[in-house]
């Protein structure tokens, strides 16, 4: 399940700016632990942002996206009080969805 995301969404002049911070290890699969063993890859592969039912962004990530991924983008529309939801899933099949209200 992971920890909750931090999602900020603000509408200005008809454009909604969304900023997302995700709690995730984003392990590359190339790092070695203290004992010298490879730490298996573990990273978010897909992330989708929706405004209501409409997808406003879908992303594919590789392991070189930083730990605790950050994402910022803008879409036309969206009004104060409406919801933006963000979902991700990782290569281990874990997933999570959080939502924020447009301010």
């Amino acid at each position: 399940m992971g920890n909750p995301m931090k999602i900020r969404a603000a509408n200005k002049d008809g454009v909604t700016e969304v900023k997302v911070l995700v709690s995730h290890e984003m392990e590359t699969g190339q790092r070695k632990d203290a004992a010298g063993a490879i730490v298996p890859a573990w990273f978010i592969t897909e992330l989708v942002a929706k405004h209501g039912d409409k997808t406003v962004l879908s992303c594919e990530f590789g392991p070189s996206v930083s730990k605790n991924p950050y994402l910022a983008f803008k879409f036309k529309g969206g009004a104060k009080g409406e919801k933006v939801t963000v979902s991700w899933k990782d290569n281990k099949g874990d997933s999570r969805t959080d939502e924020a209200t447009i301010g």
């Binding site: 920890n3 931090k6 911070l21 709690s23 290890e25 392990e27 730490v39 950050y70």
Partner: protein, 271 residues
């Protein structure tokens, strides 16, 4: 004669131009570095941990199934606003000068019934292994955001700890002849591209202390002040002092005393 003069003039102008280029290069580096830091500041992963710390604070846990809400961090049970900024301080109930982490562990032991070993087992996070203490300290620290650091060290025990911290600050040893003061005892210096600050002054200590706890992008984790100082000693190529060791609390007292009056900006984010 005129020709020679001309040559000199051109030479000086050229030297000036080259000097200017060097400065221009440096200031361009500084500008891009500022851009980098600014880009990180909006979206600090420490915020995620702060939220987690908040729920850990009120969650009933441990053998006594109690929350930490009655924990006294120096300003009274449950009073969090400004508590971080006024630590370390002397506590009558333990007859010790304690920092935020030693006091937090004290509360986990006395209120929640954890053993000290249980409470400190994961005092810092590792990839895939989160630390409750990191989350709680991030939350507690954020409750002092915007407040002034206030560690005057007027109690005799606090004054003594600050003095002992000063001793450790100047203590040189190890295969690199280091002390804290080697890097942090002068104005306007940097190591690689990182500004160091003179920690013996209010300005320097304030600049350093106000942003902790901080998310360290190079580590992918929030570091508490204990973690920060223990790592300084690792970087000095010394052995690591124990977590919550008095000598770390002494250093913290010395630094917070020097920084007193500086407004907190926490959690921070840095290299």
């Amino acid at each position: 004669m005129v020709q020679r003069m001309l040559k000199t003039v051109v030479g000086v102008a050229l030297a000036g131009a080259f000097g200017g280029m060097a400065i221009a290069q440096d200031s361009k580096v500084a500008d891009e570095l500022a851009k980098y830091r600014e880009a990180l500041a909006d979206g600090n992963p420490a915020d995620l941990l702060e939220v987690k710390g908040e729920s850990l604070w009120s969650e009933k846990r441990g053998p006594k199934n109690a929350s930490l809400e009655q924990c006294d961090l120096g300003l009274g049970p449950g009073k969090l606003e400004g508590a971080y900024a006024s630590l370390p301080k002397y506590f009558k109930d333990t007859n010790k000068v304690m920092d935020v982490e030693s006091r937090l562990v004290h509360c986990m032991v006395t209120l929640q019934g954890f053993t000290p070993a249980e409470a400190t087992r994961q005092w810092y996070s590792k990839p895939g292994k989160e630390s409750d203490i990191e989350a709680l300290v991030t939350f507690i620290g954020a409750k002092s955001n915007g407040m002034k650091i206030n560690v005057p060290a007027t109690h005799p025990e606090e004054a003594k700890m600050a003095k002992m911290g000063e001793y450790i600050f100047y203590r040189r040893s190890g295969p690199q002849d280091f002390s804290c003061s080697i890097c942090h005892g002068q104005e306007g210096k940097r190591i690689r591209l990182q500004e160091l600050g003179n920690l013996t002054t209010q300005q320097g200590a304030g600049f350093a202390m106000k942003t902790w706890p901080s998310y360290r992008v190079s580590q992918g984790a929030v570091w508490t002040m204990q973690r920060r100082l223990i790592d300084c000693m690792r970087q000095a190529r010394w052995p690591e002092p124990n977590y919550l060791a008095d000598s770390i609390i002494a250093l913290e007292t010395y630094l917070q005393k020097n920084a007193t009056g500086t407004v907190m900006e926490t959690p921070g984010i840095k290299r």
